[in-house]
Amino acid sequence: MSLADAFADGPAFVPYLVAGDPDYESSLEYVEALERGGADVIELGLPFSEPIAEGPTIQNAIVRALEGGMTPERYFEFVEDLDVSIPVVCMTYYNLIYRYGDAEGPRPFVEKAADVGIEGFVVPDLPAEEADPLREACDEFGLDLVFIVAPTTRGDRLDRIMRQVSGYVYVQARLGTTGAKSDVSDQTGSSLDRLSDYDVPKAVGFGISSGEHAERIVRGGADGIIVGSALVDIVAQGYENDESAKTTAERLETLAHELKSGAIDGVSQRPPHSERT
């Protein structure tokens, strides 16, 4: 299934986990649990040692995954081993993409990603200005390149990004780094307004942690919700409390359900004027 398909019918629920957190086998189970919980796309983090865009929750997940032995090679195996039918988007930092294989440049990484069935990329430290080589490789191998749009992104910059984006656009709900929040930022509404003229699915992320958030976001016009830290928190708790992977997987599935249902409820509550074409 392509990313476009995943957003085709109704609001998409896009969960994020770090591959290999806290270990390879559990992590496989967790991703599969998310699919069961209703995920439409999975953003699967390939851990990088200097994750400058992440808040503490995901930083710690990355540390766990790295200590558990996660590498780009293992990551590709992981994707192959995953028993899911939803599209997988690889979220990582540019250096790992750039360094993969013996050549400098993104092509070998993209080729390999295509090979294992990855559908697209999100690269938080790669701005549109530096993205041409990766864009070209994605085009060559038929992958999408998702970009993040921040509350501060306007005018020319927004155009430049939207010209490059494919699959969906990642609408960053607030300034700062990733991390679950107990409220939802008001910046989301105006971000979505700014994007209303662009014809690409808009998935909102950063800080969503409950079905109620999901509902509000979708009601506000989002085509999908991206949820990372709230899920990673469950993995972290499981790890710290020595839960069985099964228990953690069940809790992930439950939260996934809640989030997905929230999103669906959000659609039905949309005020008439915010209907999209």
Binding site: E50, E54, E73, L96, Y98, D125, T153
Partner: protein, 412 residues
């Protein structure tokens, strides 16, 4: 971008989208105030550097080293800058720029605390609130610098994620910036990070070579045959080189920290050195493409050096480019030789150098005959901050010229 921020393939702006507006605003401010001296920014900067910072610093003939190496050895005395290192040149420039930009909050990262203290001083001087991110491990190792920052009214925020050193502190400061871009300026500590930082920090630091070039002409009637500077991120290096880059007769040597060995332990993700120019490879870190210490996969390695100011896995993109093009020669000096040079300069010239700067003197000792008749060494900072390390590290080694350490083994 009107200036592209590229040095060959290096440089660029590899930052989260949330930072791009701030970076663009900074680029604009850089062009207006720094490059075009709008509102007399550069004049005010230079005046403050002189009056508050203590510039110009001398270009001093090192009499005994000159005799030892049988050539003219001159020291560019950045150790005399307020705060004890070249770091203030940059910190003062950026904090002042932030004021011109109307920002009302400063953040900075620091490793050993030198950049943090310089920024704290500049902020107190210019009445700007300041928060400094510092790895928890570094906080414990560098308590005097932590205390100095607090005395200057700055907050010091411990960074507990990861190993708690400079790399993590930079990442954390970028996160704060991404959260507070609108009112906050991030004062980065070296010629690293996304454009315009590498160019801007170089411009603030290039006062070093601007002075040195004039002073060399005054004292020796000519330009030096060689300029040596240690290279961590490379800000004192670029500062000491910038105005000489066009002078073909002057060789430029960037002296990296060779640490304990140049060999890398890929398995453990550890490079027991900080020689990213010598042994690193191209990659993207902290906003720029440059040379890095990274493993086969592209994960950044833990670097190491006896001098915490050189202990960084990356290096400024412009410096990396100058090395690639052959204009700058990258060399390195290991911990032992740097420490010996620390003792030598202390004893022979009455100047206790920063362990960082001692690397440049270590190279001079080993290779003086190759350096021509007139050598300038950039003495990037003073060593008062390094007394504890010097005791520990000297005690572990057998450095014949060192004073007896016995009574100091318990620390100061």
């Amino acid at each position: 971008m009107s200036v592209d921020g590229k040095f060959g393939d290096y440089g660029g702006q590899y930052v989260p989208e949330a930072l791009m507006p701030a970076i663009e605003e900074l680029e604009d401010a850089y062009e207006r105030y720094v490059l075009n001296n709008e509102d007399g920014f550069m004049d005010e900067f230079r005046t403050r550097l002189r009056d508050f910072g203590g510039r110009p610093t001398p270009l001093q003939r090192a009499d005994r080293l000159s005799e030892r190496y049988d050539r003219e050895v001159y020291l560019k005395r950045e150790d005399l800058v307020h705060g004890g290192a070249h770091k203030l040149n940059n910190a003062l420039g950026q904090v002042l720029l932030a004021k011109y930009m109307g920002k009302d909050r400063i953040i900075a990262e620091t490793g050993a605390g030198q950049h943090g203290t310089a920024t704290a001083m500049a902020c107190a001087h210019l009445d700007m609130p300041c928060e400094v991110y510092m790895g928890e491990r570094d906080i414990n190792r560098q308590r005097p610098n932590v205390f100095r920052m607090k005395l200057n009214g700055s907050e010091v925020n411990p960074v507990t994620v990861g190993r708690g050193t400079l790399k993590e502190a930079i990442s954390e400061t970028m996160r704060d910036w991404a959260t507070n871009v609108e009112d906050t300026h991030y004062v980065i500590g070296s010629v690293v990070g996304p454009h315009p930082f590498p160019s801007m920090v170089r411009d603030f630091q290039s006062v070093i070579s601007e002075e040195a070039r004039t002073q060399a002409r005054e004292k020796m009637g000519r330009l030096p045959d060689a300029v040596l500077a240690c290279a961590g991120g490379g800000s004192n290096t670029m500062g000491a080189f910038a105005e000489f880059v066009e002078d073909d007769e002057t060789e430029l040597y960037a002296v990296e920290a060779g640490g304990s060995t140049l060999d890398v332990d890929e398995e453990a993700g550890v490079a027991p050195n900080s020689a990213s120019l010598t042994t690193g490879s191209e990659g993207v870190l902290h906003g720029a493409r440059t040379r890095l210490l990274q493993d086969h996969d592209g994960q950044i390695m833990e670097s190491h050096s006896i001098s915490s100011g050189l202990d960084y896995a990356g290096v400024g993109p412009e410096l990396a480019h100058l090395v690639d093009t052959g204009r700058v020669t990258a060399v390195n000096v290991d911990d032992d030789h740097a420490l010996t040079a620390f003792h030598r300069l202390s004893q022979m010239e009455g100047i206790i150098p920063a362990l960082e700067s001692a690397h440049a003197f270590g190279y001079l000792e080993e290779h003086s005959e190759e350096l021509g008749e007139f050598v300038v060494v950039n003495l990037s900072g003073r060593g008062d901050k390094d007394l504890e390390s010097a005791i520990e590290e000297t005690y572990e080694r057998d450095i014949d010229i060192a004073p007896n350490m016995d009574e100091f083994t318990g620390g100061l």
